[in-house]
Each structure stands twice: as C-alpha cells, then as structure tokens.
C-alpha cells in the first residue's frame, strides 16, 4: 500500500516562528497536495505540486509556501506562524494526472500556534 508519512503528529509553535511541515510518499507519485482541515470547513487546499520544483496555489495559499526539491517530498512552510494557522494539516498524493485516481492521505499534523 502507498504510504504517506507526515513527520510530526503534533506541533506547538510560537507566533512569528518559521514552521516546516514535512511529507514523504513512497510510491513515486507525481502529484502531491497540502490541505488544511478545520471543523465545519472541511478540507481546504493550500498548495499542490505536479512535479519536482513545480508548485501551484490552491484556494487558501496566503501565509504559506511550499518546496518540492525531490519527487517523494513535499514541504509546507509557514514563514511567520500566526494563531489563525492553528489547524490540522493533511498531506496527500495521487498517482495519475486526472481525477479518476484517488488521493492517499497522511495521518495529519495538528499544529498549535500560541
């Protein structure tokens, strides 16, 4: 089975800190995604990537950036963390280039910004 691994299950950071969330997938998938999950709002797309060094903005990219230097790794960066970025962050990957293929999710990182 495809494994999507997020480096931390829980993180606590202070306002203004630079935060890195790491995601690694082991099935050579081209496509990787970062979602944010908040109660009542569902999963909202922050950024995605279809290839190494390639990135596209999702629906809520403000305050975030991403990095994809290697195919298996997709990092989400909070340049200066703020309290409104306290949330569950989910990474996902997908094998095919259309939406006939399913997403494989990591277990999530619960980030608290104090």
């Amino acid at each position: 089975d495809v494994k999507v691994t997020q480096s931390s299950r829980y993180l606590v950071k202070r306002t203004g800190e630079k935060v890195f969330l790491e995601c690694v997938q082991d099935m050579d998938h081209e496509n990787m995604f970062w979602y944010r999950q908040d109660p009542g709002l569902g999963l909202r797309l922050i950024y995605f990537s279809y290839d190494v060094k390639m990135k596209e903005k999702g629906d809520i990219p403000e305050g975030y950036s991403v990095s994809r230097e290697k195919k298996e790794r997709f990092s989400l960066i909070l340049e200066s963390a703020s309290t409104n970025q306290t949330s569950m962050y989910l990474c996902a990957s997908k094998a095919v280039d259309n939406w006939k293929g399913k997403l494989f999710f990591g277990s999530g990182t619960q980030l608290s910004v104090l």
Binding site: G42, L45, F48, W99, G101, L103, F105
Partner: protein, 110 residues
C-alpha cells in the same frame, strides 16, 4: 467553490440506513467519497465519474447525477464501524484540484 454536503451531522442506531448528499454549482467530471475516523487519515471509499453511474462497496454505495450536479452516498444497515466524518470531493473537467465539502459527521450507536 466548495460543494455543499447535507446533512452536517446524523445520529443513527446500528442497522439503520443513511443518505449523505453532495451538491455542486459547477458541472462535474468526478466525485470522490472519503471517510475519516477521529484522529486518523481520510480513507478513500469510491470515485464516480460523469455518466450517472452508481457504484457499490459492501453496504455502502453512491450515485452521481450529472445533470443535477449531485452525488449521494448510501449506507445500508449501518454498522458501528461506519462512524466517522464523510467528505465528498468534486472535480470538473480538466481540473487541477479536488475541492472538498465541509463534511458530514455520522455517529452510529448500538
């Protein structure tokens, strides 16, 4: 634009049936359904492609009405293990992203 799921939450007794709806304002190419248990990653249930097909997975099935831009997830004779939050995700033709609804929280009691 997010699809709209209804209901937002539902509580059932074991063995009862449930229907979760997902509506979009855009013409759809595919609809995905995922289930997430508390503290776990969302897990894929099924994909429906335009053409009005219905798919099944054990006692969980779904339909996709392309003209109405709606999908429904049917849970028959619900089991305790069906508890969780269900998300639909929609994509239009050529879309680069999957847009999720706000989720439906399903609680199954003994």
């Amino acid at each position: 634009q997010q699809p709209v799921q209804s209901p937002q939450a539902v509580i059932l007794r074991e063995g009862e049936d449930a229907v979760i709806n997902c509506s979009s304002s855009k013409a759809l190419y595919s609809v995905h359904w995922y289930r997430q248990k508390h503290g776990e990653a969302p897990v894929f249930l099924m994909i429906l492609l335009k053409g009005g097909e219905q798919k099944g997975h054990e006692k969980i099935s779904a339909s996709f009405n392309e003209k109405k831009q709606q999908s429904s997830l049917y849970l028959t004779a619900s089991q305790l293990s069906y508890s969780g939050t269900y998300f639909c995700g929609t994509a239009d033709q050529g879309a680069q992203k999957l847009v999720f609804g706000q989720g439906t929280r399903l609680t199954i009691n003994p």
